[in-house]
Subunit: 215 residues, 2 copies
């Protein structure tokens, strides 16, 4: 019986890992769609979002089945509950990638990001991808250094977000209203991606140490 | 034993109801802060967000304790798992209310919403408050008509969101870049509030009927 239980816990972990891979790829493609005007990448992200949503349902069903049949307690129980929450955060990152891809597609063949905003948005994309890479490591290894790196990457993300809004609002913005609105939303999407990555790292740190890391 | 179990399930439901009340009030106050330039309302929302975050932790601990000690199965298990997710959605609505209040406060004593955008933003605020009222009813009574009303209110919300962006992007916007960015973010906050309300209603409908209502 115990072997089957371990198999089920491993299956949940494997599903979360597969979901993380899918979400990472989706976010990277969304950034390619945005920054390179790649329509195919945008379409792939948008149509692939349903697969990520289904993966979340699958993780949730795994977790519920585990709770019903194995009735885990203590550490294992918290691990299963954390898995439910992590699947939710991953799904939201997938949604945000789809939002980025849709915004990019809507403006094609024009770039959604004007030249003046490109350095910061490209940097946000890079930081977000690094954070998703850290999410994969943290989930796979429960490595606390990777979790700490993720939290400090989020400080960088927040700094970029604030810098982008300073540029938008300092009175010198020359990109026009449409581009300002696009850039504000894109900044928000990347910043939210970072928040969800942090939420995942916090869950894992809590599982490992019993202490929730502060913001 | 069964009595204590029922008490625990009732306590979780009562905590979710209390959280819903707090979140409704917070969102209503955020809209007052925004539309009436009420600084006190903004401060109350912003400082109250930590209480809502703590309520979510409390709901989560209730749920985990129930899972650990009572090991519910079938319907009860799905109810507890749904409770975890609903607490998460409510917390996010609280966060969005705090975002609205912060944006309002940042612009005071000027209004964050220019006169031309006020009718649509005020309507989004009204629809959001109605949706939160429906959330309270749906959670309290599991009434499927209230859940259906909530889903159709979200269609209204999405229509308002699209209308606001049409106004922002049709080339006639005369409110300037800063106001455009503010209005874009505010629209997004209200629209996300609606999405979280829908997510809660869907969870409840699924508990009652076993079928997830489609978007």
């Amino acid at each position: 019986m115990r072997d089957f239980y371990d198999d089920q816990l491993d299956a949940l972990a494997a599903d979360l890992a597969a979901m993380t891979t899918a979400v990472r790829l989706s976010l990277a493609r969304a950034s390619t769609a945005l920054l390179d005007g790649d329509l195919g990448a945008a379409e792939t992200v948008i149509s692939g979002d349903a697969v990520i949503d289904a993966a979340r349902e699958s993780c949730e069903n795994d977790a519920i089945s585990l709770l019903a049949t194995q009735q885990p307690v203590a550490t294992d129980l918290r691990r299963v509950v954390a898995g439910l929450r992590i699947a939710g955060d991953l799904e939201r990152i997938g949604d945000l990638a789809a939002h980025i891809a849709k915004l990019a597609r809507m403006r094609m063949p024009e770039p959604a990001v004007p030249a003046s905003a490109r350095p910061i948005i490209a940097e946000m994309a890079r930081v977000a991808e690094g954070m998703l890479e850290s999410v994969a490591i943290v989930l796979g290894t429960h490595d606390l250094d990777a979790a700490a790196a993720l939290l400090s990457a989020d400080d960088e993300m927040d700094g970029l977000y604030r810098a982008m809004f300073r540029d938008l609002l300092d009175g010198d913005w020359d990109g026009g209203v449409e581009a300002a609105v696009d850039v504000a939303l894109l900044s928000r999407y990347y910043e939210r991606t970072g928040d969800h990555a942090v939420s995942i790292a916090r869950r894992v740190v809590y599982q490992v140490t019993g202490v929730v890391p502060q913001a």
